[in-house]
């Protein structure tokens, strides 16, 4: 036991919330609870033999069942020895396996792989600790037996059961198979299967089983023991915990007992402890049967069985379960929750290693971020690395010191933050300290965090009033929308507002509160811009409300006869900058034409088809004039965020205009060929949301992480102020940022890495706050573990950002190929993990956690910024989509990549409610029935698709009498009949679920070209479009590439 102590500091201590924190340090058993992260560390061979407990002992229910205080190890030794390992382990080992296995999607292949898997399942003892869904549970349950013989009477087990994971239902089904097992005879196989089947529902049965198994212990065959030793003898790296050793040791016996046909694998395991891990993984992977002969792929692929994310994005739960104190995944998602422990391992992980952060994401209901005010204390932070106090810090020295979880420096606790620490290491005031129990908190910043008094929310409008703006009706819609939002602008009564309009001249408006009407001042000198009035161009909204309203009312009229076609955008931008630079704030630019006068004038350059496919191709996607980047840099410096609204039907060089938004934390909204009659609702909704959503002003963000890892690159819309400080003049819930990690040291010695995202911002109400999200992730030594803990959503998000950035300096094709190559490499590496053990030549294997990766990869290649070549997307659209995707949070990105396709005609006809229309269909033309009505929703637009043979009643009810006519002119308006009302209700329901953009409804009839192709068919990403692959071909292509040089 003495050997244990030195290890203690290394435990990834589960913060004090778990009552077991203290036991960890005192008894080896307790420590298992916290040791999940390190559980895969191979144990030292010697001790594993001597200490082997008879039962596959994992840490037991730990936090949930405190009554099982683990007994002293010494005793456990003597008691534990005699009972035979195999019987006990075999008795419930397999069930575990069954449980773990079932979650994997039942692919057609399961049948074939079945036997070997089952065999693996026999030894699940090691894997469970790391398993996401069943992980903690099974892990814990396994330890339990260990404690039983040691002294705790079986009754006590039952008392432990009440916890939700172990509902009492006894599992008689279990005990039945068990006797069969002992003889370790062939029949066992089938019996297992049944056991498994029964077990799955009644997983809780474990506890009882264990009790039984204890009784059966004597049956064990001693013969298996040596075997086990043999298996484990090979020297292993220093073991962190005895506890794990138990877990390990008991593993082999299981196999031994469970069947002769496992013999081969036993030898396999003997090779080295780590193998134990990969076994666990083996249960995880899924495979696709691609035909038995490598040459005849085309026949063997069942398209219907390919994995599809029809349930939307699934956040990895394993992470949250392992570290319940982590912040919600909507704030921070890692591409893999298992960080590699060495650089060599990291280099084998070909997917991006990093995180996607959405600091202001709307918190799930009931989990609002608590606000903490350290009024007198000052914010508690680590002296050295400036980490904020969080749930993972540990208090020592009777509460007088705390250890920083990121740099492990021992800090003094200030006297007014002091609280006593109880026996288990928890502070007595824990329940009053949200910062020590919650992964996300918000601190009220003291005066040291302010360079100046908190700024008021400020909205400045820069409006193009040239002829196209007036003709398209944009001006009117915009003015109305702003006027309707005046009441809802955040920050009353401090909110500031101002306007500049421009065509070939620049118009300033004096909105002094004492005036009745705004005064207009025209500056026509574009070379030497000056501000005609020192004050009153930017006014307090609550004071000048009447003037502002009068201005907005008259704005469309003022310019209704304007015939000016020029646009002095650059000079106007400079003028706006002069007005705003004092305070900062948000600038909304409404641009209708290509900037044609003064600085920053741009040329028509997008039409050059010859450039495509050459090395110069990317220049079209980067800003033409350095003026824009320079302006963006100045804007960020003065806390100005720019949102660009572009409306033109012609080329407006979004690539250049968007730069302003990119570096100032803004956003690009693009409405190609804006017509107020069609796009009115969309502009109105999105502008209103932009104006009224909760915004964080003058923000900076930094992500800290533990020793040995470092964030090397950041991707998104922001400006990097120093190496790791993101300057964000304005942030809101619709913005996410991605960052890539790298390992600084060749070997990580810690077992857990902590991440802390800190966003310092000014809220609209004028409070300076710091939002802090903290998360922990285990360090793993196995590539398989990394795959198992991978998060497809975060990976795809990072991939898309990397690819879009790559299009700015390379050809589209290069960007696509780079991503494809990384996916192939990753799958190949994964394949290499298993190809030795299984004969899988004809199948494609991939980790369960990454089953959607190929599909999302395909979707990414077909997304607007990356698809095809010149003709496949307008240059402006491509750039606008690129800027948008750089900022999208994970969930919305995934929905954009793999949109929802839902059939609704049945629910329209049926009476009653329609809660079950959420069944999403695969995105292929085969899903479309000519008699059906479908809604396609990618978060940005709806397409309502009418089948050719749809019942005329429905069509007439929905779009009126001219349902046979031209659908491009038809809009879907509410009509006075049941079906129309229902459809509207459905659409509204979809819209409410995703309010960040307005989904404009396009109606398309089957066969109506080219609209059908444009709106829907190009977006059916599983189909073969143009030169791009269909899903099945894509998978085959990937598979072929994976197998090359495999």
């Amino acid at each position: 036991m003495a050997t244990e102590n030195p290890n203690r500091p290394n435990y990834p201590l589960r913060p004090a919330a778990t009552p077991f924190a203290a036991p960890q340090s005192t008894t080896p058993f307790g420590s298992m609870v916290g040791s999940e992260a390190s559980a895969f560390r191979p144990p030292p061979p010697a001790s594993s033999q001597s200490m082997t407990p008879p039962f596959p002992s994992g840490p037991f229910v730990g936090s949930e069942a405190p009554p099982f205080r683990p007994p002293p190890p010494g005793r456990s030794n003597e008691l534990v020895r005699p009972p035979p390992p195999p019987s006990s382990s075999s008795s419930y080992g397999p069930p575990t396996a069954g449980f773990q296995r079932f979650p994997t999607p039942p692919l057609p292949s399961t049948g074939q792989v079945g036997p070997p898997r089952a065999s693996l399942a026999g030894q699940p003892v090691i894997p469970p600790p790391t398993r996401p869904p069943g992980g903690p549970v099974s892990f814990l349950s396994q330890t339990q037996p260990a404690s039983i013989p040691i002294g705790s009477p079986p009754q006590s087990i039952k008392t432990g059961q009440p916890n939700p994971n172990f509902p009492p239902p006894a599992d008689q089904p279990f005990s039945a198979p068990r006797p069969n097992v002992q003889p370790s005879s062939p029949p066992m196989g089938p019996s297992y299967a049944t056991a498994r089947g029964n077990f799955q529902p009644a997983f809780p049965g474990y506890v009882n089983t264990q009790a039984n198994s204890a009784a059966q212990a004597p049956y064990m065959q001693p013969a298996s023991f040596p075997l086990q030793q043999g298996g484990y003898a090979p020297p292993a790296p220093p073991a962190p915990f005895l506890a794990q050793q138990r877990g390990y040791a008991s593993g082999p016996p299981t196999t031994a007992s469970s069947g002769l046909h496992f013999g081969n694998q036993m030898q396999h395991y003997g090779v080295g402890p780590p193998v134990g891990n990969s076994q666990g993984l083996a249960e995880d992977f899924s495979s696709l049967s691609l035909g038995s002969v490598p040459g005849s792929f085309d026949t063997g692929l069942d398209v219907a069985s390919l994995p599809r994310p029809l349930d939307g994005d699934v956040e990895p739960t394993s992470f949250a379960e392992m570290y319940p104190l982590n912040c919600n995944p909507s704030f921070l998602r890692l591409t893999t929750s298992g960080l590699p422990n060495s650089q060599s391992l990291a280099s084998k992980w070909h997917l991006p290693l990093g995180a996607v952060v959405c600091p202001l994401a709307e918190a799930p209901v009931g989990e609002e971020v608590p606000v903490v005010n350290f009024a007198t204390t000052g914010i508690v932070r680590c002296r050295r690395c400036r980490t904020y106090v969080n749930p993972y810090v540990t208090f020592t020295d009777n509460g007088r010191k705390w250890r920083c979880n990121i740099c492990s420096l021992l800090n003094d606790v200030q006297s007014d933050y002091f609280a006593h620490v109880d026996a288990s290491g928890r502070r007595v005031d824990l329940d009053q300290r949200p910062e020590l129990t919650k992964g996300s908190v918000e601190f009220i910043a003291p005066a040291e965090y302010m360079v100046r008094p908190p700024m008021p929310p400020l909205y400045f409008f820069l409006i193009d009033v040239s002829i196209s703006a007036v003709k398209s009706g944009m001006l009117e819609v915009m003015a109305q929308t702003i006027k309707s939002c005046l009441d809802n602008l955040p920050g009353y009564p401090r909110t500031q507002i101002g306007f500049i309009t421009y065509d070939s001249t620049i118009h300033f408006y004096n909105m002094k509160s004492s005036l009745m009407q705004p005064q207009m001042m025209v500056v026509s000198d574009l070379d030497d811009i000056f501000v005609p009035l020192p004050d009153d161009l930017l006014v307090n909204l609550s004071e000048s409300r009447n003037v502002v309203e009068a201005f907005l009312d008259s704005l469309p009229l003022m310019f209704q006869d304007n015939m000016n076609v020029e646009s002095a955008f650059g000079p106007a931008l400079k003028a706006a900058f002069m007005v705003m630079s004092q305070l900062g704030g948000k600038m909304l630019i409404f641009q209708n034409t290509l900037p044609s006068l003064g600085v920053g004038r741009l040329r028509l350059r997008g039409d050059d088809i010859k450039v495509y496919g050459t090395d110069k191709e990317h220049t079209l996607r980067v800003p033409e004039d350095p003026f824009y980047k320079q302006m963006a840099a100045d804007f960020t410096k003065y806390q100005i965020a720019v949102n660009v609204y572009a409306f033109s039907d012609k080329y407006t060089d979004i690539a250049s205009l968007g730069t302003l938004a990119k570096y100032t934390g803004g956003q690009v909204y693009y409405y190609p060929s804006f017509q107020s009659s069609i796009h009115k609702d969309k502009l109105r909704h999105e502008l209103a949301r932009d104006l009224t959503r909760e915004t964080a002003w003058e923000a900076v963000m930094r992500i800290r992480c533990g020793k040995g890892v470092r964030f090397t690159s950041y991707h998104g819309n922001f400006m990097l102020r120093s190496t790791d400080l993101l300057a964000l003049p304005a942030v809101d819930c619709d913005k996410a940022y991605a960052a890539q990690l790298s390992l600084e040291e060749t070997l990580l010695t810690t077992q857990t890495v902590y991440f802390q995202v800190a966003l310092l911002y000014t809220s609209s109400s004028g409070e300076r706050r710091i939002r802090v999200h903290t998360a922990a992730a285990p360090v793993v030594a196995e590539l398989g573990e990394m795959y198992r803990l991978a998060d497809t959503g975060a990976i795809v998000s990072l991939f898309s950002r990397l690819a879009i950035e790559k299009t700015l300096s390379y050809k589209l094709e290069d960007a696509r190929n780079a991503i494809q190559l990384r996916i192939v490499k990753a799958l190949r590496e994964y394949r290499n993990l298993f190809s030795v053990q299984h004969r899988l030549s004809g199948r494609m294997i991939y980790p369960e956690s990454l089953k959607f990766l190929p599909l999302y990869g395909l979707a990414l290649f077909k997304s607007t910024p990356l698809r095809g070549g010149y003709a496949d997307a307008q240059l402006d659209e491509r750039c606008a989509a690129g800027y948008t995707m750089m900022a999208l949070p994970v969930k919305k990105l995934l929905k954009l990549l793999y949109p929802n396709l839902v059939r609704v005609d049945d629910s329209l006809v049926k009476t009653g409610e329609f809660d079950n229309i959420t069944k999403r269909l695969p995105l292929t033309a085969e899903s479309l029935d000519t008699r059906g009505l479908y809604i396609f929703d990618n978060g940005f637009r709806f397409v309502v698709w009418f089948g050719r043979l749809i019942s005329p009643d429905i069509a007439r009810n929905l779009i009126g009498e001219d349902f046979g006519g031209d659908y491009s002119k038809v809009t879907l308006t509410p009509r006075d009949n049941e079906q129309s009302r229902k459809l509207m209700k459905i659409l509204n329901k979809f819209r409410e679920s995703d309010p960040s953009y307005f989904q404009l409804c396009h109606i398309v009839r089957q066969g109506e070209q080219p609209r059908e192709g444009f709106f829907l068919l190009t977006n059916l990403i599983e189909d073969q479009i143009g030169g791009a692959n269909g899903y099945a071909d894509w998978i085959l292509q990937l598979h072929r590439q994976v197998q090359q040089n495999a």
């Binding site: 009024a375 908190p454 004028g766 300076r768």
Partner: protein, 218 residues
């Protein structure tokens, strides 16, 4: 003309409100803000200061009044009439106390009453031009007497604390240095002793050695 306006709690120097986009045409407004902060810090240390004071700094002058443990401070051009400046502060004070009086003590975060800046802004504009009828009337108002208000220099005010610090520092340095001196003196004394008697001792030693050698071998 009013350049800066700040309102702070005297007990701990916590800033409560500040005029918006102040200091636009003051080239180094940050430097003066620093001075103001230092001033607040001095006040919060409980140094006895008059409740009304003017402090000269560079081309500008600070005026402040302390009332109900809140300090209202403004920075103006030197040429700006003192009388108007103090009336401006009075106006702010009256409004601030009317709105926030019972929240002042409980304010826990800096700039808790930042919303007051709109009022500061409005009032400031009234006082902007000294030649308006309203302001001339105020200037001529004999009832409001400002002659008694002391004018000091900012170095002097900020220097008080510094000087005290310096004195205590010097005295502590003095004690430590005197201790070192005493040690050194002792050491020197010993060395002098050694230097004085060492040759004699050596000579004697040699003599005795010779004697001893002679006795032994002869």
């Amino acid at each position: 003309m009013v350049k800066l306006t700040l309102i702070a709690r005297v007990t701990d120097g916590l800033p409560l409100a500040e005029g918006l986009d102040d200091g636009r045409d003051v080239p180094d407004s940050d430097y003066y803000k620093q001075q103001v902060k230092a001033l607040f810090k001095n006040l919060s240390r409980g140094q006895n200061e008059a409740s009304r004071m003017s402090i000269e700094t560079g081309p500008y002058i600070f005026h402040y009044i302390i009332e109900g443990r809140v300090c209202y401070l403004t920075m103006c051009d030197r040429a700006y009439p003192k009388k108007l400046a103090f009336q401006y502060l009075e106006d702010l004070k009256n409004e601030f106390e009317r709105v926030y009086l019972n929240q002042i003590e409980t304010a826990a975060r800096p700039y808790a009453f930042i919303k007051f800046d709109t009022f500061i802004q409005k009032t400031k504009k009234l006082y902007q031009d000294t030649r308006t009828q309203r302001n001339i009337a105020k200037l001529n108002d004999e009832l409001y007497e400002v002659h008694q208000i002391m004018t000091r220099n900012v170095q002097e005010v900020l220097g008080v604390g510094e000087k005290l610090d310096q004195v205590s520092q010097m005295s502590s340095r003095l004690t430590s240095e005197s201790r070192i001196y005493a040690d050194k003196a002792k050491d020197l004394n010993r060395q002098a002793l050694i230097r004085k008697w060492a040759p004699v001792a050596v000579v004697l030693g040699v003599v005795f050695l010779l004697f001893w050698v002679r006795n032994k071998f002869w």
